[in-house]
């Protein structure tokens, strides 16, 4: 792997024709591997990287049905935070945040991680009590959480609606200063490049159609590019996971929904924190290019298409305009949707399934991007050792049998 540093930048910059090499090879599938990862999004690429780096398993293929990083990895709003309620969730998401903090250096690839802070704005004394509860939980769980007065919130977001007749007046808020954003494509590309550097084959445009089974154990997959064999298979396919495991006769506690996001034309810097309003459910940030990036809750109808629906758009956009009336002058450049895999307790599914040799990492719902390093780290551990890392143990599928759910939908009031 070509090491990027200031010297190479200057040398290449001075050349008439820069000779940068592609960041990863266009690999051709070999007949067999030690491990196959299905899904070339952030989680799949990170899994392959940590398999090679943490466990020395380098004979790995990543099979992606399209080009890498164009599913939810390329469709999210890039926010990274660990302000959850239950200790299990905080352990998981803060592992991710800690890995993100060092990721640019580790991958030798700038993921543009900006810890600008994640702020939730409360509008009523009751919501402020919820914020108190979340802040307490965060501090007890060992992550940074800070309560803000209305004045402190206003100082951070001067454009907030201060009109007399504002529907959602600011009553205070809560801040996680270590939260922030990263460049989502760079996370996929950085992991792809680093995994490729270890010899992992990234095979694009390779759709998995079925599984090869021998004596009840998985032995490989049948793809659009032919048969590829491996004894261990990791699935990190988000909304595509139910479709894949259905071929093994397995159902999952997952429903697929569309989640939309929006981007306006770029403007000068005016918002240097990620803001979520507890009143409107809309969240918003400003990208490094100056665009206002925003989104909100799920569409209401289960679907498998990456296409949003008007009622959800109306709710999200009207929420934004209530929060920041001046953004009403902006033109919307793009609107899109991703298919997210929603679990009843709004926590992910990490673990083996009924077919021996198959492990899944899915069910991240609306918040998979922030969990990419942890998801990859934990799935790699599971595949390499055939047992859970202590952080992923509570997220095993058996929690639905035991009833020990990790209900973040009620715990931290996340958007779905």
């Amino acid at each position: 792997m070509e090491n990027y540093h200031i010297g190479s930048l200057i040398t290449q910059g001075l050349k008439k024709k820069p000779s940068w090499k592609p960041a990863w090879r266009k690999a051709k599938a070999k007949p067999s591997y030690d491990v196959i990862i299905i899904g070339g999004g952030g989680h799949g690429l990170a899994t392959a990287y940590y398999l090679a780096k943490n466990h020395g398993i380098k004979n790995v293929a990543i099979l992606e049905k399209g080009p890498i990083g164009l599913g939810n990895t390329g469709r999210n709003t890039t926010t990274i935070r660990s302000n959850y309620f239950y200790p299990e969730s905080v352990a998981l998401y803060d592992l991710s945040l800690r890995l993100y903090e060092n990721l640019s250096k580790e991958l030798n690839f700038n993921i543009m991680f900006s810890q600008r802070g994640m702020m939730m704005v409360a509008h009523t004394p009751t919501q402020m009590e919820i914020c108190n509860r979340i802040a307490n939980a965060m501090v007890i769980n060992g992550v940074d959480g800070e309560l803000l007065t209305a004045r402190q919130v206003m100082d951070k977001i001067p454009l907030w609606n201060k009109k007399k007749d504002a529907r959602y007046k600011c009553h205070g808020g809560i801040m996680q200063n270590r939260g922030g954003v990263a460049r989502h494509d760079a996370v996929a590309w950085g992991y792809a490049r680093a995994a490729d550097g270890f010899g992992v084959d990234i095979i694009e445009n390779c759709m998995v159609e079925d599984f090869l089974l021998e004596a009840g154990r998985v032995k490989g997959v049948i793809t659009s590019k032919g048969e590829i064999r491996a004894d261990r298979i990791g699935i990190a396919a988000a909304g595509g996971t139910p479709y894949l495991v259905a071929k093994l006769g397995q159902n999952l506690p997952i429903l697929d929904y569309a989640l939309q996001a929006f981007v306006t034309e770029p403007i000068k810097p005016c918002l240097d924190v990620v803001v979520l309003s507890l009143g409107t459910g809309t969240y918003v940030l400003q990208s490094d290019k100056g665009e206002i990036v925003f989104g909100g809750g799920l569409d209401r109808i289960p679907t498998h298409t990456q296409r949003g629906n008007l009622p959800a758009q109306e709710t999200v956009v009207s929420g934004l305009l209530e929060m920041f009336p001046s953004f009403g002058q902006l033109k919307l450049l793009r609107q899109w949707a991703g298919v997210v895999d929603v679990v009843p307790d709004s926590s992910p599914l990490i673990g083996p399934i009924d077919t021996p040799g198959v492990y899944i990492n899915c069910g991240w719902g609306t918040g998979g991007f922030k969990a990419i390093p942890a998801g990859g780290w934990l799935l790699a551990h599971l595949i390499a050792k055939d047992e859970h890392h202590f952080i992923s143990e509570p997220f095993d599928l058996n929690r639905f049998n035991t009833g020990r759910l990790i209900d973040e939908a009620t715990g931290s009031g996340i958007a779905h």
Binding site: L255, D256, R300, T305, F400
Partner: protein
Amino acid sequence: MQIFECPFCGERNETEFHFLTEAGKERPEPAEEVSDSRWAEYLYLHKSPRGKTSEIWVHIPCGEFFILQRDTVTREVYQSISLQDYQTKKV
């Protein structure tokens, strides 16, 4: 914007409807013989099919529960059947 049909009120805006669960599940009984995994399957597991599906929805304003048959990829809506009709047909 999608239009769904309530068997009682007729065609209405999608925002008036609420999705409940996939149709066709049978509650396992008797309770004392049902294993934890069988009960979890009944409560939580979905087929989440790509394509034609049959689901239980409710029309919020009138409270009518019904089966909605539609396509999860093309978003085509096939038909709405009231739960009463559905059950009588079955019996």
